[in-house]
């Protein structure tokens, strides 16, 4: 019996009644995984691994968490996969409505704002997802946005999210944003360099982070269209 005991105040006094017990159903899980985005001058690169885990168990080796939302934007979700999927579905539906209402696809900056609103709408029962939205804007420039679970939005040049964020972000700061380097000239990052940095980031993260591995999907979003490349990561 619960240590807290209530007594009823009637003739049958001292009849013990169990106090209401709060049992915790925790509606969230952490499904691990890592995502990364790099915004270039005329492209945006979005990458995610495809492992889905829970605790020490690997659920699936191929369960993508990066999704092409429009021809010019890719969303990478991290955190609780079920929320990530529900959020992606909801955005897909809103984009469909937008297309029918305005006879055009939503621009990436507008989509970013819509994502922030969609997340904030559930401020008191949040989608437990850490999102990265990357793509190209209406001028064809690479853009990248990052979000916290309740909709705070930031514009980025490079950002790592998910279980290996802390491993990868300093590397990106140094190699993409050229932080803490002396005497470097700021030249725009080439796509080849971005892909190389991405592959190095994920192979390294896979070595140290048990939640990252199996496969890597790299989306490259350009004016001409979006391509996807699938690469093997270690499966241990």
């Amino acid at each position: 019996m619960n240590p807290v005991t209530l007594y009823n105040n009637d003739i049958f006094t001292n009849v013990p009644v169990e106090a209401p017990v709060e049992r915790n159903f925790y509606p969230y899980a952490d499904n691990g995984g890592t995502s990364l985005g790099i915004a270039g001058a005329d492209f945006c690169l979005m990458a995610s691994d495809t492992r889905k885990s829970s605790g020490y168990s690997i659920h699936s080796r191929y369960s993508p968490k990066a999704f092409k939302l429009t021809e010019k934007a890719v969303l990478a979700t991290n955190g609780f996969a079920a929320d990530g999927l529900a959020l992606t579905k909801r955005l897909g539906q809103k984009l469909e409505w937008y297309k029918h209402a305005h006879d055009k696809e939503m621009s990436t900056p507008a989509l970013a704002q819509m994502l922030a609103n969609t997340l904030y709408y559930k401020r008191f029962f949040p989608y437990y997802t850490f999102n990265l939205l990357g793509g190209i804007d209406e001028q064809g420039r690479g853009v990248l946005y990052s979000f916290d679970p309740v909709g705070s939005m930031g514009t980025e040049v490079c950002r790592a999210g998910g279980s290996s964020a802390a491993l990868i972000q300093p590397f990106l700061d140094n190699q993409v944003a050229l932080k803490n380097q002396q005497g470097v000239q700021q030249t725009p990052l080439s796509l080849e360099a971005a892909i190389r940095i991405t592959k190095d980031s994920f192979t390294s993260a896979t070595e140290r982070d048990i939640y990252t591995g199996d496969y890597l999907e790299i989306f490259i979003i350009r004016q001409e269209g979006t391509t996807i490349e699938r690469i093997d990561l270690k499966k241990d």
Partner: protein, 249 residues
């Protein structure tokens, strides 16, 4: 028949107690009561194979020993459940209702495995979002038009598809064996080999999972449709126990 224990000493004990603070409460599954243990499933050459034992436990008590946890939905889909049995029975009812509604629509369409899986996963996610979860892990297997389908969904609405799936204790004990035996051989494993793999995994589970039972059913979904067979027994060997000091006679 009322058995409100608060009222046993009253004359009108059959009436609802006035001081029952829970009388008008909303009830929710906050913990599973009668439960089933692991479900195993994997892809093989001809389709999908699943297995589950027939035990429904009440805590550590082996309460019901002849409960079917593999359930066909339509002509080429099977769902298998671990977790709360009453929630599973509710889901069976729910899916049956959906299948009947789809049937009398009579538009020439039948729900395929993917549709049933999507429906079930939305129900599961919806219930968790209302803080009233269905306390189960489901495996959905199917075979439509030469295409194999194997998916998982649980009480949090977590979903994934994989060539091998194991719920509960099976995730720790059987999944590594299944991955080694099946991954990369989904299109070559014969039925005989699949049965062999399944039986040995069920045996491992029976040896080590204290909530398991040595009576299980297998199901296969192939081009011929669904077939649930059994019950089978895993051949186990216990006489070594007699040689253990302090255990034998």
């Amino acid at each position: 028949m009322n058995q409100f224990s608060l009222n046993f000493d009253r004359e009108n004990y059959h009436e609802k107690p006035k001081n029952d603070i829970f009388a008008d409460a909303i009830t929710r599954t906050q913990q599973p009561i009668v439960t089933g243990t692991s479900v195993l499933a994997f892809k093989y050459k001809d389709g999908i194979m699943l297995a589950a034992d027939t035990l429904a436990s009440y805590g550590s008590l082996a309460r019901f020993t002849n409960i079917q946890r593999l359930y066909p939905v339509g002509d080429f889909t099977i769902i298998a459940a671990s977790g709360d049995i009453s929630d599973f029975q509710y889901v069976q009812h729910l899916l049956d209702t959906v299948m009947v509604e789809e049937y009398y629509t009579n538009d020439g369409h039948v729900l395929r495995t993917q549709n049933i899986y999507e429906y079930l996963s939305r129900v599961m996610y919806g219930r968790r979002s209302r803080f009233n979860p269905l306390w189960n892990s489901y495996v959905v297997g199917g075979y439509n038009d030469g295409e194999k389908f194997l998916g998982y969904v649980d009480l949090l609405g977590t979903t994934y598809q994989s060539s091998t799936i194991a719920t509960g204790f099976g995730g720790y004990l059987a999944q590594p064996i299944l991955r080694k035996a099946v991954e990369g051989r989904e299109d070559t494993l014969t039925e005989t080999e699949a049965i062999e793999i399944m039986n040995s995994c069920m045996k491992v589970l029976y040896y080590r999972d204290a909530r398991s039972f040595n009576k299980f059913q297998r199901a296969k979904i192939t081009a011929e449709g669904v077939e649930i067979s059994g019950p089978y027994k895993a051949e186990t060997q216990w006489d070594f126990a007699e040689g253990l000091r302090g255990y034998g006679p």
